[in-house]
Symmetry: C2
Subunit: 413 residues, 2 copies
């Protein structure tokens, strides 16, 4: 894409009321627009990153047999009363609204209830199980505080998967499958090394749940890491009993601030019993379905990448989620640069071409701010030497690559 065609512009300064680093950078770079506290629109470059993250997640969910569906935001009171999660005293993040006839509705902040009800119409026999179903869907949460940019939004895209199994053993197999997929997701989006599966409290049906926590000073959570084993746990389960259970000792734990980028949870029959999701087993007996739930917020993942990978000069996107692979800068060499741009795009290499009539300094600083993995500069010296300056966003090393060699360079890198 030519940068003059892109409708977003970079800004020198972040809005004064924006305290989080991720939102400051993303707004300055033109990736997101703040509508109000905790409510952000995604502009073209930001939507590309978000879509790339979504595609990574979708591939991993499909690879483990997940079937994608799309539930609704509007929720009916009667359903949520059955599980005692309608009342604002029980759940304090509801946005409520109403039909014209006065019927109260809620805006879904999670979807265990509607998917369990839906499955009562699809699951009847042991032959219909197991099922892994997931969606990318907008959640609404009436958060009191919303100062963490796109990491805690009042309206946000969520990938939520739900598993349905015949037995505890089958549930554990599904849980392990999703857990492994989550680890692959965080690896692929560039958060692998600093993301821990931290033990958290489990509820009635399981001793523990697990939170995927990315170490970051911007985090709102605290985790305790045993750096030798790579095991971690969150504050609520930091007791002598749990430590003994996990074979950990308090002295070996390091406290770190962290961001919860995902969680996986054994639900047991917590929802299937009150909502009547049962199946006929091999013996003809009726039994409740064993459930699990598994969440990742693609927007929070994007915000976390902005928090932990960016540097003083701006954003830094891993190639797997970057809006473009190459940022091509023309410094008074428009004709040659256009030719190279055409060659790169024809070869399927996603390229943003800075064809703006602005200073070299502005082009360099905007390129650092946008955080595209490779910067390619064509200037007067290039025209003389027939070589482009290629610099990865994450290093200071400049390589000189011949104009003719650029396509094969980026096909290989």
């Amino acid at each position: 894409m030519r940068q003059t065609q892109l409708f977003t512009k970079t800004k020198k300064e972040a809005p004064k009321d924006e305290v989080s680093k991720n939102a400051q950078l993303l707004i300055r770079a033109g990736f997101v627009h703040k509508e109000m506290a905790g409510v952000y629109s995604f502009l073209p470059l930001g939507l590309k990153v978000l879509s790339n993250i979504i595609n990574v997640i979708r591939e991993e969910m499909d690879a483990i047999g997940g079937q994608e569906l799309a539930l609704t935001a509007l929720q009916d009171k009667e359903l949520w009363q059955k599980t005692d999660r309608w009342d604002d005293k029980q759940v304090d993040v509801w946005f409520k609204t109403a039909l014209k006839n006065g019927t109260e509705l809620g805006l879904g902040w999670t979807h265990e209830e509607p998917i369990t009800r839906l499955m009562t119409q699809q699951i009847a026999s042991y032959r219909d199980l197991p099922v892994l179903a997931y969606q990318f869907q907008t959640k609404f949460r009436n958060e009191t505080r919303a100062k963490s940019g796109i990491m805690r939004m009042r309206e946000f895209m969520m990938k939520d998967m739900y598993s349905f199994a015949r037995t505890e053993a089958e549930h554990q197999e599904l849980y392990a499958r999703v857990r492994a997929a989550y680890q692959r997701i965080f690896e692929r989006v560039g958060l692998g090394g600093r993301t821990y599966a931290a033990f958290a409290s489990g509820g009635a049906f399981s001793k523990y749940s697990e939170e995927f926590q990315t170490v970051s000073d911007a985090g709102e959570d605290l985790i305790y890491i045993d750096e030798t084993s790579g095991q971690a746990l969150n504050k609520e389960v930091l007791t002598d009993e749990v430590l003994a259970d996990l074979g950990l000792t308090r002295e070996n734990l390091v406290e770190k601030k962290s961001i919860e980028v995902g969680n996986i949870f054994t639900l047991g029959t917590k929802f299937s019993v009150p909502l009547g999701l049962t199946f006929k087993d091999e013996t003809g007996a009726m039994a409740p379905v064993m459930m699990g739930c598994y969440g990742i917020g693609p927007g929070r993942v994007m915000g976390t990448i902005a928090e932990v990978l960016s540097d003083a000069a701006g954003l830094v996107w891993p190639a797997s989620v970057a809006p473009f692979k190459v940022h091509l800068l023309s410094l008074n060499a428009d004709e040659k640069t256009l030719e190279i741009y055409d060659a790169l795009t024809a070869a399927g290499i996603e390229t943003l071409y800075d064809d703006r009539d602005t200073s070299a300094g502005d082009k360099f600083s905007d390129s650092d701010l946008l955080g595209i993995p490779y910067r390619v500069v064509i200037g007067k010296r290039s025209l003389a030497s027939g070589q482009a300056e290629v610099k990865p966003r994450v290093s200071a090393d400049v390589e000189m690559i011949s104009f003719e060699g650029l396509v094969s360079y980026f096909t290989q890198h």
Copy 2:
């Protein structure tokens, strides 16, 4: 995909409270699930169709230079008060909600206001124009009646594009570009021949707007068609003055019920003036931006396809939007069918393999209900002859194709 793995099941009967044909068929076939009146979840097969429609629209919007973004559902009162569209007396489809501190919020039913405000931060000069920006985003409309299945939902996906131009002439060029893209979209999704661009009232800045209306007895609208010229107009502009203006005569018009599947509208400066979206022109003078808006609801398009293309036996999907290309049925020939299934999927031909342990009659009737373009049957006779029975969903003609020839047949068809 193997049908035994698909979590949805077909139903013999539609729910009694469902009066629209599209919802009856889509629920029976397991494409959608009714959460409440006017609120439907999309199940895997239905989501595939919806995604295919979205992809067709996205390709056409990108091809005319559209830049995709994603605005939010949550809307602030102050913004909409500036255009006098906040009060329920002015706009009767708002769902309203509130933050915990009591601040009133609305759920977006359209997005002229937020995108105009957003553009005030991106557009400053004539050099920043023109812009075509669009999104696929969930709209909420508090409809009094919701009896048309997925054609009139209280919560629905909408593709809305907005154009921003320097001059009336530039606006007209953008308008014509989007109009042509809309015609290509309706052609591609199989509604071309029966969809008319019908003149409708225009508002303060343009004599007419245009509605894309698909002729159908399930429609809630009435249009008047001059079948010789292909021109059409809706009821609100059926006056002697308008007829004279368009060169039409009343006697030549045929009245038809129709479904509004899209609309395109010149907004002029209706939003740019109150919201301060101005630009500095070539002479240094400030001028308000000329806007247009362009909507298509992918869910309504899907419902319309179900209304107008289905037959007594079930749904009929055009290949461009079908959830699979081939429905492969094994009639007691599982081993050979699995081999063919593997060959088709390896060749990238999207295939649903009915490997269920159920009667041939059930398989045939479910295949008609699901509406996949080609049915391929492998039975005892096939095993003897080495040939599969191939039948398009829209015809009764069966062709016999050798097992080895199936991949090339479907690569070519």
